[in-house]
């Protein structure tokens, strides 16, 4: 049983059959509404995050450009903050930072989870015992609490550093799931054959085992990506976000700090939260679609 780093215990089950992605998968992929909706939504938001900031003639989203606290209109699409900052400019810059922290955090967590999961699952024995113990220990310590104290002491805060620390703390559930998958694959004939022909551990893992669960690894990465975004937004909100630039979590923090709620300035706190929800939700929906594409058992229902 694997679990998302956020409250959704519905990661693909460890004993689901694994399939190689190929032409057949593509055939089902373009016909899967969940996958199409999810991917399209993520692509649109990614495009807004990448292109949006370029189209603005102002490089600094935190600059005071407009009237103070005005509701959305033709000039300021998402209104302005109490200080006259353009919420739309902050939003598109924030999207960019959000994607960045997701990629960095998700990639680092995925790499650690793969190394630990493959090694523990393939080698077994004492290696497995030790790595499993390590995984369980990190799993039980609340990641956010560790991130809190590290962040508070570090002082140096950028999106990349934040992503690095999130990656270092959010891998355990994925490592467990990968271990379980590897465990079921390592006794198959083709792995025995490779072992007989004298291949080393890492060669067998990367040439024989990993390709056979590539779809599963990809789905794990997507979940880690979404999880990193949610953790980063919590950290930003607590006031441990990047000290330069803007992110969706920081927007929520300043809206909260300057009483946007009491002043009824909904345009200040609705867009950033909706942006995070849309990205993460679209990722999850796309993930369910992918599961159906790769897993014939789910496809029929």
């Amino acid at each position: 049983m694997s679990t998302l780093p956020d409250p959704a215990p519905e990661a693909p089950s460890a004993d689901a059959p694994v399939a190689k992605p190929g032409r057949e998968s593509l055939h089902y992929a373009v016909r899967n509404p969940k996958l199409i909706i999810g991917v399209t939504l993520v692509a649109i938001l990614l495009a807004v995050g990448v292109i949006g900031p370029m189209l603005l003639d102002n490089g600094n989203p935190n600059e005071y450009v407009g009237p103070q606290a005005s509701a959305p209109d033709g000039t300021y699409w998402m209104g302005t903050t109490t200080f006259g900052q353009d919420v739309y400019a902050q939003f598109v810059h924030g999207l960019r930072a959000t994607f960045l922290v997701g990629v960095v955090g998700g990639a680092i967590a995925a790499v650690i989870a793969m190394v630990v999961g493959f090694l523990a699952g393939y080698r077994g024995g004492v290696t497995d015992e030790i790595l499993n113990m390590l995984t369980n220990v990190v799993l039980v310590i609340p990641a956010l609490a560790v991130l809190l104290i590290i962040n508070a002491y570090m002082g140096v805060r950028s999106v990349a550093v934040q992503g690095l620390f999130i990656g270092l703390t959010s891998w355990p559930w994925a490592a467990r799931a990968i271990r379980a998958q590897t465990f079921s694959l390592r006794t198959r004939e083709f792995v025995d054959l490779a072992r007989l022909s004298g291949s080393g551990t890492w060669r067998i893992v990367f040439r024989e085992i990993a390709p056979n669960m590539s779809s599963y690894l990809f789905m794990t990465f997507i979940l880690l990506f979404g999880g990193s975004i949610l953790i980063a937004s919590s950290l930003d909100f607590i006031g441990l976000g990047p000290t330069e630039g803007v992110s969706l979590g920081l927007m929520l923090q300043s809206a909260q700090q300057w009483s946007a709620l009491q002043l009824g300035m909904w345009w200040w706190f609705v867009p950033p939260g909706a942006g995070i929800t849309a990205i993460v939700g679209a990722l999850y929906v796309a993930n369910v679609g992918l599961d159906e594409v790769f897993n014939p058992k789910l496809r029929e229902s």
Binding site: V137, I149, A152, M154, L261, F269, G273, A278
Partner: protein, 331 residues
């Protein structure tokens, strides 16, 4: 079964040692010097006074001893329940400050965690066999899971608090009421509790519902279900078996989610300025109160470990395989 608990206890013991060690290591090995930061914050003009402060803090932290001694002292103090002295509410001991905040956090967390688990599993199990319910629960569940905790808190505070005016949007009780064991205070505290509780409950709900739905569908399609229905067993019986099997991973999931739920409670408390551990941590960060921060970290870890242990006991009661010791080595 003895082996199962021995294993679990070993892991929890190790986790605690690692957590304490991390807690000890971070101020010593991270770039940046907490003592200088605290001295600078005090804005003392005379160099002698600043030096005296530095010595005081170094002594308090124990930075003037050799490392191994510092480590042992840290453990010694901890085992005596000594978390150091808070800087933010000087000179109250950190342990007392945390104990004051603890009831609010527990009062928020325990009902939110348990109720969302029960209601989520119930809705998920229902939706696994009703198409109409399934088509509404699934999308709603995904939206809820994808929402950041603080955003749903902010939206609720805005809609039900600021707009509708039904609930207060900040604090744990009204300022004109003295906290105590009176009916007035209890009612007032309950009134303040509704919104933070609701936001935690709602975000967690979606995940449990989706998880349960998927597990039930998986179980209903498994071999034993087809076998039972081939034998002509009533549908009710098959569903009951499916439910009992599907609930086991959900219990494991509850244990895994605890650490994450702590994070949810922290940010939710900050949104509502609820006087629990989350608000304390925010204050500790803003005031660079490292003792308070470290104490809060250890409190959280101990809380999560105790809760995990309770869930392990529940698991043994519910799953006969762990009782007979047939579950094998994996924990």
């Amino acid at each position: 079964m003895r082996r199962y608990f021995a294993r679990k206890l070993l892991i929890y013991g190790l986790t605690f040692v690692v957590a304490v060690t991390v807690n000890w290591m971070i101020p010593r090995f991270m770039p940046g010097d907490p003592v200088s930061a605290m001295v600078a914050r005090a804005r003392v003009s005379q160099p002698e006074a600043a030096e005296a402060m530095r010595t005081y803090y170094n002594n308090l932290f124990g930075f003037d001893e050799p490392l191994w001694q510092q480590y042992l002292h840290f453990w010694g103090a901890l085992l005596q329940g000594d978390f150091g002295i808070s800087i933010f509410v000087f000179p109250t001991p950190v342990g007392d400050v945390l104990l004051d905040a603890l009831p609010y956090t527990l009062g928020l967390m325990i009902p939110a965690v348990l109720l969302s688990w029960f209601v989520g599993n119930w809705i998920g199990a229902l939706s696994a066999r009703r198409k109409v319910l399934d088509n509404t629960v699934l999308p709603a569940g995904y939206v809820l899971t994808a929402m950041p905790y603080m955003w749903i808190a902010v939206i609720l505070a805005w809609a039900l608090g600021a707009k509708a005016g039904w609930f207060p949007i900040s604090g744990g009780y009204s300022l004109d009421i003295q906290p105590g064991l009176s009916a007035d205070f209890a009612l007032d505290a309950l009134h303040h509790w509704v919104l933070p509780f609701l936001s935690l409950f709602l975000v967690a709900l979606g995940g449990w519902a989706i998880g349960m739905r998927n597990m039930i569908i998986y179980e209903l399609e498994s071999d034993y279900s087809s076998y039972l229905s081939a034998l002509g067993a009533p549908q009710r019986l098959i569903r009951r078996y499916a439910f009992r099997n599907a609930v086991l991973p959900q219990i494991t999931g509850l244990a895994l989610q605890l650490g994450v739920l702590v994070a949810g409670a922290l940010v939710t408390e900050i949104v509502f300025a609820y006087p629990g551990l989350g608000s304390l941590i925010l204050a500790a960060i803003q005031n660079q109160d490292f003792f308070l921060l470290q104490g809060a970290f250890l409190f959280i870890v101990i809380g999560v470990l105790i809760a995990n242990f309770l869930i392990d006991i529940v698991y043994v009661v519910v799953d006969p395989r762990t009782r007979t010791g047939m579950a094998g080595g994996t924990s």
